[in-house]
Amino acid sequence: MIPGEFIYHRPSSVAEAVAILANHGEEARPLSGGHSLIPMMKLRMAAPEHLVDLGGIADLKGISEDGDMISIGAMTTQHELIASDLLGSKLPIIRETSQLIADPQIRYVGTLGGNVANGDPGNDMPALMQCLNASYVLTGPEGDREVSARDFYEAAYFTKLAPEEILTAIRIPVLPAGHGYAYEKLKRKVGDYATAAAAVVLTMSGGSVSFCAIALTNVADTPLFAVEAGDILTGSTLDAETVKRAVAAAEAITEPASDGRGPAEYRTKMAGVMVQRALARAAERAKG
């Protein structure tokens, strides 16, 4: 439980950080809250020779609204997500999800950028970002590019992020007022990653679903955007029969590992139960 040797950098601008990363390639890693990276270093599952601490870069902080987009700086902590009134009113599902991550101590340091860049299927934010159709701003030596959260994840710990790039911001389209939402997470205890979790946002009009997005956490080696499940529900009245079909469609795309949380079959079924419960709560919250 002791990390290998590394050199610590603390740049004060994104450009400087990117330059250090570009210099050291695969040997360097950005450090945000450190609450995923440091444990992996202690287990020597990660052994970067250079740690580039992003904590000294003021530009990476803050939550702002720009027309129908909300932009969140990568270094915004999970605690700050919970505290934000803007998010609380426009995208309340972010607060709900953040509150289900780890415990207050971890949320004071863990960042949204680190959570989504990490590439661990156990993280809660990636599925939520897919559900919300967020995109990530990646800054490298060549400048910025934007990648949709739905395209970002390739396999466990493999993402579209290049070694010399930093994820600088997360951009999320604002959902219409009165939308329904829920994040349902089954876990063994506080501080545990999900056995299975589901993010649901939907809008209702005249008693039927006019739009629905669903994504799943920790039931495959990447977060899963459940396109088909969402499509099945769109236009429906959330009648039992349709919900059952949607749940089956969500379960069908899962490919969970068997671990201490339970065997694969259980986790697939729990993904279904989470979808069902999230739908019920989202529908209850939706106006219209």
Binding site: M1, E5, G191, D259, G260, G262, P263, Y266, M270
Partner: protein
């Protein structure tokens, strides 16, 4: 007397003696982060040791090459079994009469077994060096399932025992067999089963788990080569035993070994045994001449030092059709891992498992325990319980519920019917114990009345009907556990550790100004001895607890004792304390008589001093007497006021309790929610009700964890799974149920203050209460017994197998 003279009640309150909810004095430093733990001790020139461990569960070790590691700057030495052989320490004796490798000697028997010990200038270098030690292994077939250990063609795990047909506890019947332990009357029991109206038989497993104290095992060994003295700081629940063992193993005379156990961050049995880390640190310090520190990390702790349980019990009960039990038969297959390192009194290979008749009047019983080797870590410690008592309590409490189910009887009524009756105490159990005291019916009735037991059953019935009609997906269970503990090891007639009788001790010194220092052979790891020991002394000699300093853990100053585990401190050391205090009071009485110029027989003890019979104004307080003891003792009397007492208990004590658990289970996720948990404990005389409550809360929380998910798992090739707090279930305040506590008081008739010990009761009684609640919930759907742990996925699986998911 004027208004300012304190009343008797005020004087009594000022003592903060027995019965007082005195705040824990040790918490002043603990809550400020000012405790002094082993890892806080930093000695000049200290270096660090760390282990190279085996990735395989069973393999030959064909080569260990430390060349590259030794090249790393800051690496001082790399010890292997070959080095230890030079000092005859490649193997060490275990408490259970087996031997255990200190470092892999030709082979490894479990994953993470210690293979080499790297000594370096700091922990970072030591860890870097570990990666550089090259070890070659040749994998061998692995036994994980204890039921396969004694297969005819099972691989030989212990070639060192090849051909040994006699073990420390009698004949061995297979090369992977350790012992058979048999108690009770086999023929009479068989007869009871032949004649029974009803019998039940069930395999009841208690899975492998771990005590997991927050502070892991650690030590510093410091050899002073000039003086020839060895000092060891360590997380030791039994420091004197460690000193004796260290002397026997190292051949350093015992008076030249100083063992210090500073503050300990929880033990729960994990810190009773001697581990390779201690031996290697000692050898490394002898070799290098500088202090060597060894600190276990969490994964090492969970995967190597002392698991608990892993008992697979087949229980059978014979009964009449009215529910009267007539016989009990239990067979246990005990998985001991690669070495038999169980921490039990020497003659008890299965601890006190023969308490398995529980709280019930079984006329006959028969018990057989087979211990076997597997490719798992050694241990088998009493995780917050007296030796194997929690396994026994779980076995009988599950079995009684299964019998109730078969008879169609209410499990509370079945228990009431079969309890040992108050007038039967002292009660001779069919498996050889003499229960000192008890009043089971009163305790049980009190809880049933308080929680409204019959109403809960009615509610459960209604919920079951609603479930069947499809109106709810939740089922409700009521778990009952009525346990009898056996603690206070123990009487020298049946208890010793490596030949040392299991007495305990206290020394009390009253200073001239009337304050006190006292030392005991026990060692608190969170139990609050500094608080409670002072309370016993305060009541016995009338000096305020606040003026009494309690010190434990330094073998140079404390009298010899066998340490703290198995809830033995209060039954054994607590008695020694009371008796040492009484010696002081007797001497004080003589001094007071001299001071008051009366005969000592003319004096009465009154709270905090002696007064002349019939003339209470003529009195001497203990403070005054203490001064006189040093200033002007009676002619012919030795000055001073101090005493030592060594106490060999005449019997064990038998705390008991009634625990009820109400639980709701979501069949679609398997998530169980404890709605209510009511724990009534009878631990005899209550020294500090607040500390008792704290102990009960802690023990119940552990019981909850164990029953509902805490487990050391292995895959089929012996990889230990979940040996970190990410998976090993340590509940937080959020998951932990709300505890309601209650008590009755049945003092122990043979203990000087009537106290029985309580620290472990909640773990012993708690586990069956939770498990019975789970089982009770599923019973109406057709299940008889569900194995622990009851984590969500397993309960979901049960529901699925019962056809509940449609």
């Amino acid at each position: 007397m004027n208004d300012l003279t304190p009343t008797r009640e005020q004087r009594e309150a000022a003592l903060e003696g027995m019965g007082c909810k005195r705040k824990r004095v040790e918490d002043v430093r603990f809550t400020q982060g000012k405790g002094q733990y082993v890892d806080d001790v930093k000695l000049p020139g200290m270096v660090f040791g760390d282990f190279v461990r085996s990735p395989y569960a069973h393999a030959k070790v064909t080569k260990i090459d430390a060349t590259e590691a030794l090249k790393l700057p800051g690496v001082i030495a790399v010890l292997t079994a070959e080095d230890l052989k030079g000092v005859n320490l490649a193997w060490m004796p275990t408490l259970a009469g087996d031997v255990q490798m200190v470092l892999a000697d030709g082979k490894v028997l479990y994953q993470n077994q210690e293979v080499a010990f790297v000594v370096a200038e700091n922990r970072y270098i030591a860890d870097d060096a570990i990666q550089l030690v090259e070890v070659e292994y040749e994998e061998l077939p692995v036994i994980v399932d204890p039921f396969k250990s004694m297969d005819p063609d099972a691989p030989v795990l212990r070639p060192d025992l090849e051909g040994k047909t006699e073990g420390a506890h009698g004949p061995r019947k297979h090369h992977n067999h350790i012992f058979t332990w048999e108690v009770g009357d086999k023929d009479e029991t068989a007869r009871a089963f032949d004649e029974a109206d009803v019998t039940i038989k069930e395999k009841i497993s208690y899975h492998r788990t771990h005590p997991s104290p927050l502070e892991t095992c650690q030590c510093i060994a410091s050899m002073d080569k000039v003086k020839g003295e060895l000092t060891i700081w360590g997380t030791f629940q039994a420091p004197h035993v460690i000193r004796t063992v260290a002397s026997l193993l190292s051949t350093i005379p015992e008076h030249k070994i100083h063992v210090v156990a500073p503050d300990i961050g929880g033990g729960f049995g994990n810190k009773v045994g001697a581990y390779p880390g201690y031996i290697c640190s000692i050898v490394a310090s002898i070799v290098t001449g500088v202090p060597v520190k060894w600190v276990e990390d969490r994964m090492e702790n969970l995967s190597t030092t002392s698991f608990a349980r892993d008992y697979h019990m087949t229980a059978e009960i014979a009964a009449k059709s009215d529910g009267t039990v007539t016989g009990l038969k239990v067979h246990v297959l005990a998985d001991h891992g690669g070495f038999d390192a169980c921490a039990d009194p020497s003659k008890w290979p299965a601890g006190f498992f023969n308490i398995v008749t529980g709280s019930y009047d079984f006329p006959v019983a028969h018990l057989e325990v087979d211990g076997v080797y597997t490719n798992k870590a050694p241990g088998g410690v009493a995780y917050r319980c007296s030796f194997r008592v929690t396994e026994a309590a779980y076995c009988i409490e599950r079995a009684m519920d299964i019998l109730a189910q078969k008879l169609g009887m209410d499990p509370a009524d079945l228990r009431m019917k079969n309890f040992v009756k108050p007038e039967q105490f002292p009660y001779q159990s069919a498996l050889g114990w003499e229960y000192d005291s008890g009043d089971y019916h009163t305790a049980m009735q009190k809880v049933m009345d308080t929680i409204g037991y019959r109403e809960l059953r009615a509610e459960q019935k209604a919920k079951q009907e609603a479930f069947k009609r499809g109106e709810t997906r939740e089922i409700m269970g009521i778990g009952i556990s009525f346990f009898t503990e056996i603690v206070g090891a123990g009487p020298s007639k049946n208890c010793d550790i490596l030949g040392v009788a299991m007495f305990d001790s206290a020394e009390i010194r009253v200073h001239p100004t009337g304050s006190v220092i006292s030392r005991m052979g026990t060692k608190s790891q969170g139990q609050g001895h500094e608080t409670t020991w002072a309370q016993i002394i305060a009541t016995e000699i009338g000096i305020p607890a606040a003026d009494i300093m309690v010190e434990e853990g330094n073998t140079d100053t404390a009298p010899y004792g066998l340490g703290t585990y198995g809830s033995r401190s209060t039954p054994v050391a607590g008695a020694a304390i009371a008796l040492a205090a009484r010696k002081i009071r007797n001497k004080a009485q003589m001094i007071a008589a001299h001071m008051l110029e009366v005969s000592e027989y003319d004096l009465d003890w009154d709270v905090d001093g002696f007064q002349v019979k019939g003339n209470p104004q003529a009195r001497k307080s203990m403070k005054e007497i203490a001064w006189a003891a040093y200033h002007a003792p009676p002619p012919g009397m030795e000055p001073g006021l101090e005493a030592v007492s060594y106490y060999d208990p005449p019997n064990m004590t038998y705390p008991f309790g009634a625990y009820f658990c109400v639980m709701d289970i979501d069949v679609d996720t398997g998530v169980a929610k404890t709605r209510r948990f009511y724990a009534l404990d009878d631990c005899g005389t209550r020294i500090n009700p607040m500390i008792i409550e704290g102990q009960v809360h802690g023990g119940l929380t552990e019981a909850f964890a164990i029953a509902m998910g805490q487990e050391i798992r292995y895959d089929e090739i012996g990889n230990v799974l979940g040996a970190s707090f990410m998976d090993f279930f340590l509940p937080t305040a959020v998951e932990t149920p709300h505890w309601e506590t209650d008590y009755t008081v049945t003092p122990s008739p043979h203990h000087p203050i009537g106290a029985k010990g309580v620290g472990e009761s909640p773990n012993v009684g708690g586990v069956p209460a939770f498990s019975n609640a789970v089982n009770d919930a599923f019973q109406f759907l057709g299940s008889t017994h569900i194995q622990m742990p009851h984590d969500a996925w397993r309960l979901w699986q049960v529901a699925k197998d019962l056809g509940v998911h449609g």
